[in-house]
């Protein structure tokens, strides 16, 4: 029995691949100009250093990078807005319940900082650098996320 590959991609691959190329291009623009390979999640810790005296959050590398990381994040927000206002057909809001966003967000924030990266830091920059730590991290988080998503869906939580 052949696996029906098309059924796994009901919306095709074009928007996904086009978006992926742009995400990569955004990283490359910064890399080419500055040598920095930036992920999105260090912003959380480095921004907390503006308001917290905690030693862990005030390490020199965060203090040195926190200003440009705010700029990077504002750019990301702006890029989303730019698309919504042009080709994207306006704003929309998620139906996923707030408790899931909040609880999931806490785990994402803690996990990315403990694990030294996120979907962009490990998943794009680290994998693109053929970093063993990043490849291990990505395999683990994708598998765990699939299990958790399946359990939550099986428990009847929608959306």
């Amino acid at each position: 029995m052949a696996l029906d590959v098309a059924a796994l991609f009901p919306n095709g691959v074009l928007p996904y691949a086009a978006g992926g190329l742009l995400v990569g291009l955004g990283v490359v623009v910064i890399y080419a100009g500055t040598g920095i390979i930036a992920g999105a999640s260090t912003f959380l810790e480095s921004t907390l250093s503006y308001v917290s005296g905690n030693a862990r959050l005030n390490r020199p590398k965060y203090l040195a990078s926190r200003d440009w990381r705010v700029v990077f994040t504002l750019g990301i927000v702006g890029g989303g807005a730019l698309y919504a206002l042009t080709l994207g057909g306006g704003a929309w809001t998620t139906e996923v319940q707030p408790w899931r966003l909040l609880a999931g967000g806490v785990l994402v924030g803690a996990g990315t900082r403990l694990g030294k990266g996120c979907t962009s830091g490990h998943g794009v920059c680290g994998v693109g650098s053929r970093s063993p730590a990043s490849i291990v991290n990505v395999v683990i988080f994708v598998l765990v996320a699939m299990v958790v998503a399946a359990v939550v869906a099986a428990a009847g939580v929608v959306p």
């Binding site: 995400v23 390979i37 959050l57 694990g115 920059c125 299990v147």
Partner: protein, 159 residues
């Protein structure tokens, strides 16, 4: 160590402009790819639409080509003088544990840091629950590790 620039460099208007431009492209890519929608991420994780493979995959290929090309044919980034390199992290228990925690959060909520910021730009204001959660998680992780580090110091000197 990752490449870094000083806080003074971080205020260079040319560097700020490049980082903002890169962020715009990055954020637009996340919006184009639909990864800004938690629903789309969750449908990836439950195998209903695997298109998201092409977002992280496509982006990491673009970054991989740029990293290899820059290291082979170029020397230092023009705006900072930082030598082109790869994004490498030490593979240790934290990378594994962080991947598990991050994956649990990603699977529960369908959000990650970069896509969360871009989603806010698209006008998806409920994502603020998730972003607030990420800051809480990153802060809790910082406090916990500061305590763990000072406890270790105390144990080392108490002998």
């Amino acid at each position: 160590m990752s490449a870094s620039i000083s806080a003074e460099d971080g205020r260079d208007p040319r560097i700020i402009a490049v980082i903002f431009a890169g962020g715009l492209i990055f954020g637009a890519g996340l919006a184009v790819s639909e990864m800004v929608r938690p629903e789309v991420v969750l449908s990836f994780l439950t195998w209903d639409d695997l298109g998201l493979v092409f977002v992280m995959g496509g982006a990491s290929v673009v970054v991989g080509v740029a990293v290899v090309g820059a290291m082979r044919f170029l020397d230092r980034a023009p705006l900072t003088g930082v030598a082109y390199g790869r994004r490498l992290r030490t593979l240790d228990r934290n990378v594994v544990a962080g991947g598990v925690v991050f994956g649990a959060g990603w699977g529960l909520s369908g959000i990650c840091p970069g896509a969360g910021y871009a989603s806010l730009g698209v006008g998806n204001y409920p994502i603020l629950w998730g972003i607030a959660g990420m800051f809480v998680g990153a802060y809790a992780q910082g406090v916990w590790r500061s305590r763990a580090a000072s406890a270790a110091d105390a144990a080392a000197t108490a002998d």
